[in-house]
């Protein structure tokens, strides 16, 4: 389901040989090859076997997490903070997304392409920056206010949600809407009664999916001081207390699992409504729970709208803006930015290539088969748990740990992102497999094809499109995430950003941020074209 939500998945049509596809395929292979060569994989040693002991210490701590009662109490309280931020941030993002969707939907603009393009460009700005970057910026304006954590999630997520909501609205059947317009209804009334009912299910599903993502983001924000699990994780990480790190990671995994299970239940209900006109109790219950959680979170974090418009916030905003304007245009900085941007692209390409290959390899195991024996189910659960842990460990931790066994360079950062993205992509691809049409494979099997043959000719063709679409989507995300591993000095544009923020060189910060937004915009456009070619 999620598969379809992130991006409308291309519908597989009759197999036609498309020259454009060949072009894209060659370009993709070339890019991955370039990234591999650039990473130094073929030009010298990249492994550092001496660090196996240090890596082993990290890995073995997974089996003996810190379980001291005092620490568990700290973790439990932090988990509450994380939940509060996730619920408020995710909830606000959905609200912003709903409003923003109207502004960026093609339906709103009709034939006025310029207006639509401008709206899309405006949304690209908040979307292009990572939550952690928003956190740092907001911290400078709002100080230690809980709004920092909430808005740092809500602003970028709101922009993503707006784009996706707009996509959903634009792709639902339009006959009702057109009929209402023809009958003389106003545009907004027509949209409310003609478009919204069709889209409601997908919109709700996506809203719950965002909530799951918000949990992981709330942790990343803790790394910059918003409190919660991420704060505890960052403290334990700073002093390399791996047992404590794992306890926090497990707590986070449990939260993710809970959000995932809730979201899955809601999505299933939405996708397959029960017959009858009664209100679905599960859906109503989920709505009530979310509202109750929101109220509790507002109370728990003592969130006050007054601090958003306080004189102090405005004063700090003007300080930051006047310090950052005009952005630096020093030649040396621009050259650095260009070089780092290239590194970032190559790093993200490596990460995505690794994650996609891994996700495809694991997809068969990660999917829940309709009927399977106990060993198969156990393996499936194990693979899914591993994927969950891969994405529960934040990328900066992966970067340091991989740096124990790899020599410094682009590779540890790229692999750190790749491992983390594999955690996310593995799950998404697994779901795509679950939802794929099993009939071609079964037909081939019953016609006597070998399992491998049936998989190659029955499953792969129908999955290639959605998987590549997902890979493209995560590529954009990976570009933003490189900032996280850059903060650890693993290379890319994040290094420049952390250098500029560390020295409070606001004009340089502005330039680097502009470069990041531009970069993610370009990647967005390129992957949009690639997806179009796949359709």
């Amino acid at each position: 389901m999620t598969t379809l939500l992130d991006r409308p998945a291309p519908v597989s049509s009759r197999p036609v040989r498309d020259r454009r596809r060949w072009g894209w395929a060659i370009a993709a292979v070339g890019l991955v090859g370039w990234a591999l060569v650039d990473s130094g994989l073929f030009s010298g040693a990249v492994l550092n076997p001496g660090g196996a002991a240090q890596f082993g210490r990290f890995a073995s701590a997974a089996f003996r997490p810190e379980l001291a009662p005092e620490f568990l109490a700290v973790v439990a309280e932090s988990a509450l903070v994380t939940v509060a931020y996730a619920v408020l941030g995710g909830g606000l993002a959905v609200l912003l997304g709903a409003v923003g969707a109207v502004a960026v939907a093609r339906s709103t603009w009709g034939r006025r392409r310029t207006g639509w393009l401008v709206a899309r460009g405006v949304v690209a700005l908040p979307r292009g920056l990572h939550e952690a970057v928003w956190g740092l910026l907001l911290l400078n304006v709002l100080g230690l206010d809980p709004w920092v954590g909430v808005l740092a999630i809500a602003i970028p997520y709101g922009a993503v949600t707006a784009t996706v909501f707009a996509g959903i609205l634009d792709e639902v059947p339009r006959s009702g809407y057109d009929a209402l317009l023809a009958a003389g209804a106003g545009r907004s009334a027509a949209a409310l009664y003609g478009l919204l009912p069709h889209a409601a299910g997908s919109l709700l599903s996506y809203a719950f999916y965002r909530l799951e993502c918000a949990v992981r983001s709330a942790v990343v924000l803790g790394l910059i001081g918003a409190g919660g699990l991420g704060y505890q994780l960052s403290l334990s990480f700073t002093s390399l207390r791996w047992e404590q790190v794992w306890t926090t990671v497990y707590a986070l995994a449990v939260l993710c699992l809970a959000a995932d299970a809730g979201g899955r239940a809601v999505r299933r209900r939405v996708a397959d409504p029960r017959p009858g006109g009664d209100r679905d109790r599960v859906l109503t219950g989920a709505g009530v729970v979310v509202l109750a959680l929101t109220g509790w979170a507002v109370w728990y974090l003592t969130l006050s709208p007054a601090s958003l418009v306080s004189a102090r916030a405005l004063e700090q905003l003007s300080y930051v803006v006047s310090a950052a304007w005009p952005p630096s245009t020093e030649g040396a900085l621009l050259a650095d930015v260009a070089g780092a941007a290239l590194d970032t692209v190559l790093m993200s390409v490596l990460a995505i290539a690794f994650a996609t290959a891994g996700a495809v390899a694991l997809a068969g195991l990660a999917a829940r088969p309709p009927s399977a024996g106990l060993p198969r189910r156990f393996t499936g659960a194990l693979v899914r748990a591993t994927l969950l842990l891969l994405r529960a460990v934040p990328p900066p931790v992966w970067a340091l740990v991989l740096l124990f066994v790899l020599l410094p360079g682009v590779l540890p950062g790229a692999l750190a992102l790749g491992v983390y993205t594999l955690g996310v992509l593995g799950r998404l691809v697994g779901e795509a497999v679950e939802e794929s049409d099993r009939r071609p494979t079964e037909a081939l099997r019953s016609a006597g094809a070998s399992p491998v043959g049936a998989w190659l000719y029955g499953t792969v063709p129908s999955l290639a499109g959605p998987v590549l679409a997902l890979a493209c989507y995560r590529w954009e995300v990976a570009i933003r995430d490189t900032v996280l591993v850059g903060l650890l000095g693993a290379g890319g544009i994040g290094v420049l950003l952390s250098a500029a923020t560390a020295s409070f060189d606001w004009p340089a910060v502005a330039t680097v941020l502009a470069a990041i937004v531009l970069l993610s915009l370009v990647v967005d456009l390129v992957s949009e074209r690639a997806r179009a070619a796949l359709r």
């Binding site: 660090g51 700073t238 006109g277």
Partner: protein, 313 residues
């Protein structure tokens, strides 16, 4: 037949759901309005706001919670003030929060203290530990490099080298200065220098051999040696730097406005008055024998080096 279908075909009307959509929406509206109205306004400008202390943590969570809980309690009792500890994880964040007035009294490193003071007019250094007057950094190398301990930094130039955090005084700034004094380009090194992010990470990265050399805070190194945490025979202490000033307490101007012009003197008196007999707990948590007064002039060299390295503007 479903109820809706039954209703459409003239059957009994479907029962009204327990919670109608309108009731749900109205309830939500009321709840949200109540929640928003119940919130109090920001306390940042409040005259009765407590003294907010903060620090950049480089120790593990419980120690940290205890450390600042203890300090906050002791401070509150001694000065008859309400004191609140606010945790922050990031050097840059702590400096910004000091500027915005969210943190009043912060335990800064040498460089971050200078950055915070330059961004916050009227900030005053309050006190430093006895060991901060003569702080050192330790250069460590991986045994595989074959380098024997020496005072000559030049051989480090050809090694993969990592600093600690970018704005760490002992993990970056002063070592970079001493390297350049020894004729080694502090931004040189094969592949460029790394930034491990923390002193402990530097130890582990050099022990792993991924980086062949690194530099860190003398206090952390000594304490890890003392705990027996460094059992890697792969790690060699290469040399210690000359001494410099490092950590200190810095007080922001807004606290002085709020809590009285004599606040800096009272705080300095409190810190320097801590004794091993009565306040062993606080001193031990800071790893200090005692606190001594300090002044802005102690950090002029740090400011100069910071400017040369582009870390202070």
């Amino acid at each position: 037949m479903s109820t809706a279908a039954a209703a459409r075909s003239g059957g009994p009307a479907p029962r009204i759901p327990l919670l109608s959509r309108r009731a749900l929406l109205a309830g939500t509206g009321v709840a949200v309005a109540a929640a928003l109205a119940g919130c109090t306004s920001s306390s940042a400008e409040d005259a009765a706001a407590p003294l907010r202390i903060g620090a950049i943590p480089d120790q593990d969570p419980e120690v940290l919670q205890r450390l600042y809980g203890t300090v906050a309690d002791s401070l509150a009792a001694a000065l008859d003030l309400e004191v609140e500890y606010r945790p922050v994880t990031d050097y840059a964040a702590a400096v910004s929060l000091f500027r915005t007035g969210d943190l009043d009294l912060v335990w800064f490193g040498g460089l971050t203290g200078v950055q915070a003071r330059l961004q916050t007019r009227g900030a005053v250094p309050i006190a430093q530990r006895d060991i901060d007057e003569a702080f050192r950094s330790v250069f460590v190398v991986h045994a595989g490099t074959g380098l024997a301990p020496s005072d000559d930094l030049a051989p480090l130039a050809g090694l993969r080298f990592t600093y600690g955090s970018e704005t760490s005084t002992s993990g970056r700034l002063m070592p970079a200065y001493f390297l350049s004094e020894a004729g080694v380009d502090p931004q040189g090194f094969p592949g460029g220098p790394g930034f491990s992010g923390s002193h402990d990470a530097t130890i582990t990265l050099v022990a792993s051999g991924s980086y062949q050399a690194g530099v860190l805070n003398e206090q952390v190194w000594d304490s890890r040696l003392g705990e027996g945490g460094i059992t890697d025979s792969d790690l060699v202490e290469y040399t210690r730097t000359p001494t410099y000033h490092d950590y200190h307490w810095l007080l922001g101007p807004k606290a002085v406005e709020r809590l009285g012009a004599d606040l800096p003197e009272r705080l300095t008196a409190y810190f320097t008055g801590l004794t091993q007999d009565d306040d062993a707990e606080v001193l031990e948590l800071f790893g200090a024998g005692s606190f001594i007064p300090t002044e802005a002039a102690n950090y002029e060299l740090i400011e100069q080096i910071g400017r040369d390295l582009g870390l202070v503007r």
